[in-house]
Amino acid sequence: MQRYSAFQLFKQALTGNTGWQRAWRDPAPKPRYDAIIIGGGGHGLATAYYMAKNHGMANVAVLEKGWLGGGNTGRNTTLIRSNYITPGNTEFFDHSMTLWQGLSRDLNYNCMISHRGQFVLAHSPEQMDIYRHRANVMKGQGIDVELVGLADLSRRIPELDTSPSARFPVYGAIFQPLAGSVRHDAVAWGYARAADARGVDIIQQCEVTGITRAVDGRVTGVETTRGPIKSDRVGIAVAGNTSEVCRLAGLRLPLESHCLTAYVSEPLKPVLDHVVTFGAGLMYVSQSNKGGLVFGGAIEGYNSYAQRGNLPRVQNVVTDLLAMFPNLPRVKLLRSWGGIQDMTMDGSPLMGTTPIPGLFLNGGWCYQGFKATPAAGWCFAHTLATGTPHPLIECFGLNRFETGHILEEYPQGPEPMLH
């Protein structure tokens, strides 16, 4: 792998940038692999990378029906955080945050990991109590977090509407300093380049059309648009399309696909230094390094695979944004786009083994997919390599709805549109 560095950049610049090598190969599929990962998004690529790096398994293929990183990895609002309250989620996302911290250097790819801190606003005294609970659970996990009072908050984000007469008066916030944003495309590309360098085959434009199984039910490989490929271990990491791919193996899952729209404004000089999340509705905003305000809200609420939403949600989201930041009405929306999320029945992911031997699942990420990327890859690699779920994801097993060990981060019941 061609090492990236300031020196290399300088050296290549002198020769007209003609010496840069391909970031990853474009291999043809081999007839058999030790493991196949369906889905070339951040999760699939991270899984392949950690299989090669942590488990010495390089004879692995990542199959992507389009272009790598083209699903939710390239469509999210790029936020990372680990302010989770549900036991299981807390530990998992804390591990993810640890991996994020060293990721750029690990991959030799600048993923622009920006720990600019996230404020989640409280709009009632009760909400402050809920955040205190959350903060204490985080502290119990060793995560740095603080509760911020109103005066302090208004000093740190002067543009925030903290007036008592606001429609959604602010009482304070919970602040996680390590939360922040990451350049999403770089995550996919960085993992792809590093996995490729370790021998993983990343095969784009290769759609899986069938999952083949032996008479005893074991997985034997996949059918693809580029021919059959054999492997006795197949991992699915196709959030958004999880139901569709699992249907190929006859699995029915506790999830629905929903569209989440994200938005970006025209580029502006720095106006917002942190991630700020509204507390009286689902809405979050940060400013990208390019200067655009990147923001999002809740899913549309009806099942969708269309990667685009409708006007009522747009209006809700911007109204929430302006309720927080009354200085922004003249800032212009540049682009909006949709991604399809797996929404599970409790708002937490589905990871681990499936009833089908040799078939493993990584999906159901709801709003958390991007921030989970490193830990999901790390744990899914372990699961694929060893055949048993990594301890951190045991709680995300498919059978938790039958056993009642549900993980409700935002307790709304088995109604995905409300999570």
């Binding site: 990183g69 036991p87 622009m112 600019r116 350049r183 025209e266 502006l268 006007l311 209006q315 682009r335």
Partner: protein, 972 residues
């Protein structure tokens, strides 16, 4: 100084001069000018600095495609950043300033970036800034400051925006020749037509065409006179959503007639438009050709030059080189000549041009088989190099031609954005070298230049067709030429001006394997700037296709997403800006409470009286006094926010039996019962009481926050699951005002004012209700207690609620009645161990709350099976307990974690404090909590730790029923 005002011509009103300031300098123009045309007339060339290299930039286009000239518009304390000069109308007193430069537009230190060769290539930032751990945070601060374009305002901006809904038979998007024709035709057919045009004037490209004026005048007159057509100019069809719902944005501010915007008037109006049929007559945009130095101020689109001359009476320069790969540029020759512009050369990459073109270029130096290979000049174009080109390769040395403008035409790109907002893939027409609208919904039609009918008459004919079809062949002869390969050392050749994406960036992306359209776009940032690649996307695609040696459509097309042009966020929020999208609900006692000095708090959608401070009291003093006074005498609390649902029908008891966990078949008329409802998965959803008012008539109350959810739940069950049940449900929350009258003296007080019913313990026992009157107003009186005192809930028709409240208050004076708010209500319910929000958090089961006795085993009900899943029944689940600090004066707070004494303070703890208060009745701090295996731990001391606050308190686990556990007071 280059551009200048022509002595005549244009659609400007020369009798109305207008003054603006640009970077502090005065510029004059006329009504009808844009800021761009006025600046051009003033002779200014450098209007902006580019995003990355901070290169001096001038005008390229005349409309929405302009990539360079973006300004901040300043009006008082408000700033509109990134405002396009080509669409901003000049009005008197306007103040604009350039952006993204330091210290000034003419001298920008950041342009040093431009002199570091090759470092800032595509994706350079992915390859460096990694050496220090967490080092990115250091670099990020610098990069963020350097990036970005305009400044956003920092102060609250009162800008108002309007919203309206529009319904029509036919929506025609685009007021060019095709759109005008289509609108008129549809209206003549008797359809109700809305015609939208983003420009301030109708006509589209026809406005720049020398001989189109008479036709255009006539068409506009007919359109304006037609009663079936509503014309919206300055109105952009910005987005297309499902079922022909379009988002139109009509600009209302910055027009020459209105002058500077009045901040109290709407700045823009969002039309949510629902049309039966949509006709896309969105036209086409000219694109440029990539060559070295092609961003020098003075290199612009040929059609834009014609536009400035024809529309604004401004010439962009004095000596032009025309560079084209197609016939359309020849149409501009006469326009340029009419403006007195000297045409130094006509450079055409085609080896041969038609006789028609040759005729138009008669007398000019026509150089076929040639291309402009390089533009010379940094702050202003000085001249161009012209070389022979064949097979896309420059042959031999190039000559030099001095000029101050170079007008380029690289062909036309149909404006297909709207046609693909709903996911329709564009279709490539090889002969036209263009993407056309793909297979659209049948309610959509396209016509005119967007279908490749480039010329006016063709577009008109196409619009008159019953079902307009795309052009079968190209009416403008052309030869593909996207890029003139730059000679070594000739400098940067730009594809995307606004994001400073160069030809070598695209080739670098190719070398590194970023070859799919989306990878190229994201790696180079091509087409991701404010203009969303209007003039650059196709060129970039073509160049990548060339690198890959494949056809353009094989490489693909990027997805167009709303909005077409940027839309102010405020306009999308419209009148909801203040939060009106989430209604604030107030009770009928609002005015009385306000007069009584109540402090309010928002709980869910409701604004409720929180506490009633007396002189010098803070919340602590007030709630303690209120709770004490209630238990000592009598108090009045607004409970109107309780959800109220009327249920009627012979199967109501059966229905209640199915939705509540306890039994309902035995409830007698005139009695009330407490009930808990579970979600489908067995978690507690809500609690409340339901009264039986008559044999088939019930009234349910829910928690204040749960009312909507419960109502929807009941309706869902009745409509979709059990339609055989004969039950009607109606929300009556707003129809009834409600007060709770609590305290040992409540009965005595009520007896003074209630007529029509006896209130003594036998006539109205606990959990019974009666119909009576207070001051001639019919009321329902429930004997219910949340506070644990002898208490009544009195419900009054909302319109009479104030009246009854006043009567109760007046009668209460002699009992020393007090008002109490939700804070002291909370205190008293904690003293009683009643569960509420802190405990009903959507994670607890009926067993967790210690209410397992209410889970009937004799019947099935919603959640009855799944609540017994092993994970929900394990003994170590946190279960409701009371908590008393060992030191009674130590204060507990909600959200504090509970640990066994001596246990490691790690993880989520064994439970938490859910609700805490000072108890005036017990004269100590108390709390409710959820603790693992709680009920078996009464008497144990545990540690309450709030690490985030740094507190650690020893607490004794007790029963949650702190006060009057036998209920003697409420049964009194």
């Amino acid at each position: 100084m280059s551009g200048f005002r022509l002595p005549s011509g244009g659609q400007i009103d020369r009798s109305r001069p207008m003054r603006m300031t640009f970077d502090g300098q005065e510029v004059t123009g006329f009504a009808g000018d844009t800021v761009a045309s006025a600046l051009m007339a003033s002779g200014r060339r450098v209007l902006a600095r580019s995003f990355k290299y901070h290169r001096p930039r001038g005008l390229v286009g005349v409309g929405v495609d302009e990539p360079n000239a973006l300004f901040e518009v300043v009006n008082g304390a408000t700033v509109d950043p990134n405002t396009r000069a080509t669409t901003l109308e000049l009005c008197d007193g306007l103040t604009v300033r350039s952006q993204n430069r330091w210290p000034s537009l003419g001298f920008d230190l950041m342009s040093l970036n431009d002199w570091v060769p090759g470092i800032f290539s595509a994706g350079f930032y992915y390859k460096t800034f990694m050496s220090l751990p967490g080092g990115w945070m250091f670099y990020e601060r610098i990069i963020r400051r350097a990036a970005g374009m305009g400044q956003a305002g920092r102060l609250p901006d009162p800008a108002r925006y309007d919203r309206a809904h529009l319904y029509c038979d036919v929506l025609v998007v685009g007021g060019g020749p095709a759109g005008l024709t289509a609108a008129l035709k549809a209206a003549d057919d008797g359809r109700d037509v809305v015609l939208v045009e983003q420009d301030m004037a109708l006509g589209g490209q026809a406005q720049s065409e020398p001989n189109a004026a008479p036709w255009l005048r006539d068409m506009i007159a007919r359109i304006m006179a037609h009663t079936g057509i509503t014309v919206l100019t300055r109105c952009t069809a910005a987005g297309d959503y499902d079922d022909r719902t379009l988002m139109l944005l009509e600009r209302l501010s910055y027009t020459p007639d209105k002058g500077l915007p009045d901040l109290d008037a709407p700045q823009a109006r969002l039309w949510i438009t629902r049309a039966d049929q949509v006709i896309l007559a969105t036209g086409a945009m000219e694109r440029s050709i990539v060559f070295a130095g092609n961003d020098a101020p003075g290199v612009m689109l040929a059609s834009a030059a014609a536009g400035y001359i024809q529309r604004y009476g401004v010439a962009p320069g004095r000596r032009a080189v025309l560079f084209t790969n197609n016939d359309s540029a020849y149409d501009q020759i006469s326009v340029l000549q009419s403006a007195g512009i000297e045409i130094a050369a006509v450079v055409d990459c085609r080896p041969v041009v038609s006789g028609n073109c040759a005729e138009k270029a008669r007398g000019l130096w026509l150089r076929t088989g040639h291309a402009v290979t390089q533009a010379i000049g940094r702050h202003a174009l000085q001249g161009v190099r012209i070389g022979r080109i064949s097979g896309g390769v420059v042959q031999g040395p190039a000559g030099y031609e001095a000029c101050d403008i170079c007008l380029v035409s690289g062909g036309w790109t149909p404006t297909i954005h709207l046609s693909s907002h709903r996911g329709t893939r564009p279709a490539y027409a090889r002969d036209l070298q263009a993407f056309l609208p793909g297979d659209m919904d049948p309610a959509y039609r396209a016509c005119g230049a967007v279908l490749g009918h480039w010329r006016r008459q063709e577009a008109i004919n196409n619009a008159l067709e019953m079902a307009p079809t795309p052009a079968q062949s190209c009416s403008i002869d052309h030869m593909p030429l996207w890029e003139v390969p730059a000679a070594k050392g000739a400098g940067k050749a730009f594809v995307d001006f606004q994001h400073d994406v160069t030809a070598s960036d695209i080739r670098l992306a190719h070398r590194e394997g970023f070859v799919s359209v989306e990878h190229m776009k994201r790696y180079t940032t091509l087409g991701m700037a404010g203009d969303q690649g209007k003039t650059s996307n196709l060129t970039g695609l073509a160049m990548m296709s060339a690198c890959l040696g494949q056809d353009l459509p094989q490489t693909g097309t990027t997805t167009f997403r709303p909005p077409f042009t940027p839309v102010p966020i405020g306009a999308l929020a419209g009148p909801d800006r203040g939060g009106a999208h989430t209604l604030l609900r107030r009770t009928p006692f609002r005015a009385l409470d306000k007069a009584a000095g109540a402090v309010f708090v928002n709980l869910g959608h409701w604004q409720r009286a929180w506490y009633y401070p007396r002189e010098n009291e803070d919340i602590e003093d007030a709630y303690k006094r209120e709770a004490r006074d209630v238990r000592a005498g009598v108090g009045l609390c607004d409970v109107s926010t309780l959800g109220k649902i009327a249920l009627k029908g012979p199967d109501t008891a059966e229905f209640l039996n199915r939705v509540y966990t306890n039994g309902w078949k035995t409830l007698r008329v005139g009695y009330v019962r407490y009930g808990l409802m579970l979600r489908e998965d067995g978690i507690v959803m809500d609690d409340g009481t339901t009264a039986r008012l008559g044999p088939d008539e019930y009234l349910m109350t829910t928690t204040s926050g749960g009312a909507g959810k419960v109502m929807t739940h009941l309706e869902y069950l009745l409509d979709t699951q059990w339609p055989d049940l004969r039950v009607h449900v109606t929300s009556v929350t707003d129809q009834w005002g409600g007060v709770s009258l609590a305290g040992p003296k409540s009965r005595e007080l009520l007896q003074c004012i209630v007529t029509g019913s006896a209130l003594d313990g036998t006539a109205l026992p606990h959990m019974a209700l009666t119909h009576a009157e207070i001051a001639d107003t019919p009321v329902r009186i429930y004997r219910l207690s949340f506070s644990g005192e002898l208490a009544y809930e009195i419900f009054v028709p909302a319109g009479y609620a104030e009246h009854v409240y006043k009567v109760i208050w007046a009668a209460g004076k002699k009992f020393n009645i007090t008002r109490y708010g939700v804070e002291s209500l909370g205190t008293m319910r904690i003293e009683k161990g009643h569960v509420a929000g802190g405990e009903l958090d959507g994670r607890t089961t009926i067993f967790d709350l210690g209410l397992g006795a209410m889970a009937s085993s004799k019947k099935g009900y919603i959640g009855s099976v799944l609540q017994h899943r092993p994970g929900l029944r394990s003994v170590d689940r946190p279960t409701l307990v009371g908590l008393m600090p060992v030191d009674p004066m130590q204060r507990l707070t909600g959200g504090t974690l509970l640990y066994s004494e001596g246990a490691a303070v790690l993880g989520p703890g064994e439970g938490r404090v859910s609700s805490a208060t000072w108890s005036p009745a017990l004269n100590r701090h108390i709390a409710l909590g959820l603790l693992a295996n709680g009920p078996s731990r009464y008497g144990e001391t545990v540690v309450a730790i709030s690490a985030v606050d740094g507190t650690r308190i020893d607490v004794t686990v007790t029963s949650p029923h702190f006060f009057d556990p036998e209920g003697e007071r409420q049964y009194a």
